[in-house]
Symmetry: C2
Subunit: 377 residues, 2 copies
Amino acid sequence: MPDHHPVDAAIAWVDAAVHCLGTEDAPLHTARGRVLTEPMRALESIPGSDRAALDGFAVQASASFGASAYNPVRLPLIALAAGDALPAGTDAVVPLELAEPDGQGWIEMVEAVVAGDNVEHQGAIATTGATLVPAGTRLAARHIGLLTSAGLSEVPVVRRPRVRILIAKPAKAGTWEDSNGPMIRAAVERDGGVIGETLAVEHNQMAIRAALVEFGADIVLAIGSTGPGSDDHSAAALAEAGELAIYGLALRPGETTGLGRTVSGMPVVLLPGAPAACLWSYELFAGRAIRRLGGRGPGFAYRSREMITARKIVSALGMTKICPVRYGVGDSVEPVPSFVETGLMAAVDADGFVIVPQGSEGYPQGARVTVYLYEGC
Amino acid sequence: MPDHHPVDAAIAWVDAAVHCLGTEDAPLHTARGRVLTEPMRALESIPGSDRAALDGFAVQASASFGASAYNPVRLPLIALAAGDALPAGTDAVVPLELAEPDGQGWIEMVEAVVAGDNVEHQGAIATTGATLVPAGTRLAARHIGLLTSAGLSEVPVVRRPRVRILIAKPAKAGTWEDSNGPMIRAAVERDGGVIGETLAVEHNQMAIRAALVEFGADIVLAIGSTGPGSDDHSAAALAEAGELAIYGLALRPGETTGLGRTVSGMPVVLLPGAPAACLWSYELFAGRAIRRLGGRGPGFAYRSREMITARKIVSALGMTKICPVRYGVGDSVEPVPSFVETGLMAAVDADGFVIVPQGSEGYPQGARVTVYLYEGC
């Protein structure tokens, strides 16, 4: 039978059992979303020599001395794109909009420039050895651009967690549709994991146990057959295949979540088969484990914000409850029908969610609460 | 020579020239991030019959009448997982934590339940034909879970934009490293595009023109050789291959951006070769076009927020300027060295950016400004 462990104990177990994976080199053009394991430093000064900081015309600044609308100065047209090295004999760049080409190889300037104007000096972006991007950065297009332009082509990043998904077929015979696999697969991808294998397993302890002891993954998620009552084959199988550390949580939805590891030490999360419970068990524990394995922040993939309750939010004392909420007027949120009432529809109807901890019966109207926002994630 | 078109004109051109692509069916397990083209409706009522809303024990509510701590009531143990159908003769579910199994096939209840307690009634989530997920939704794990559990296996989504990238090799012979391709590729992927082909092209008008007229993509991004001066082969090539609608913007960085289309009507964005200008030209115009093609919101991939300037932000009148900023104390931001000064390093050092429009010389200290936040994107 599942117990009623506190959610905090399950989170603490994940944090103690699951650690960041090792490093591998990734080509920069595939590195978006990956997490750097070492600071990337400039191999040489950037730029290597003085160059145009913007598109314009190279000039010798001293020759523009005295230029004005009443006294335009004519200089030879030397067009440069941003990044072009300054030709010998020039020391400033005039922006395109501040000089008029006459169509005969000259520009006319109506304002003097000073030596160094719009010039990116050698080493201005970085001196040799300076940090370009710090360790732990999750790489976005702009980081990839900077590192590529600094002459790098691959970077050391945390290896992507390989995730094995086992799905217990229902006990009853007949046609069977897996209603959780696609959802969990999408969530694993969002969190940076790679699905190694998705395997439908017969609904009995021996079959589940045999599937658990296979190798080649960093974590196993086993969906379904987590109890209660006589339908707890996954929990029994994990207890035999290694260690069932935590089984049953004071959490709604997600009561029959299980956590443990195989004899080889690979973490295993048992996700309930009911879709809303499966999702929340994933978000709180399996997702956290995968995010930790991949070097990301362990918290939710959702941004949080302090907001005000427009209506009271109720919960049962002794249970951590995930409460779906919708935006109200101004900076407020109000509850929508719960996961118990409308299953996953609650997550689709909601703009986000509030977590009421085990020791609370909820929040009165007008309370300040932390709201996690879906915002398309 | 590039002109100084207003940024607004270029945005208006993109919005007029580029439209959402057609529909294709995608299997739900690959549909994360895709945009629904039709509302998804329930094929039959969900659930199809009364079922347990949470893990617990099925009981006949009337049998629990009068139960209390002083008068516990014993009932047969019928354990259910959330989602299990209620067995005949039962009409309520007792949560796991409110009943104690005695290990001999009975539970002991200390609180009465009412018929329907913790029961998900037939049709409670959706009646036949009710909308489950509206058109235009960008699908996340929770939508995929709801649609899968409603019996769907594929969904109609906007086709992913196929993006062709042309990179003009530098004019000078010798070894050559593409410093923009990986960055733009990462940004295209972030915006939902698929890179069809990345092609390095000789640095001359004829070669670029020939590459522009190939088919098989929804948009072409041509990087480099956008001018100014004699190095405007891309612009000249596009003018010959179709229409060069806009060439040269009052934008920093990104002055030599070009926009147009081939004779077959395929949109083409000319991105400057300098990395920071290339990135901003992408973010403002190419990215907008790709997001429009794919049915996403056309705006930046970044969340925006009103914040206060801790120091003044300066810009030249007549130019739209992208100003990188960093978080200051409280709800404030302060400028960091500009893209002109430190190139892409400015984007890596910054927490976000502020756009100073063409008609402004910037913002004084203490001004309220719209800040676009990177937040790891």
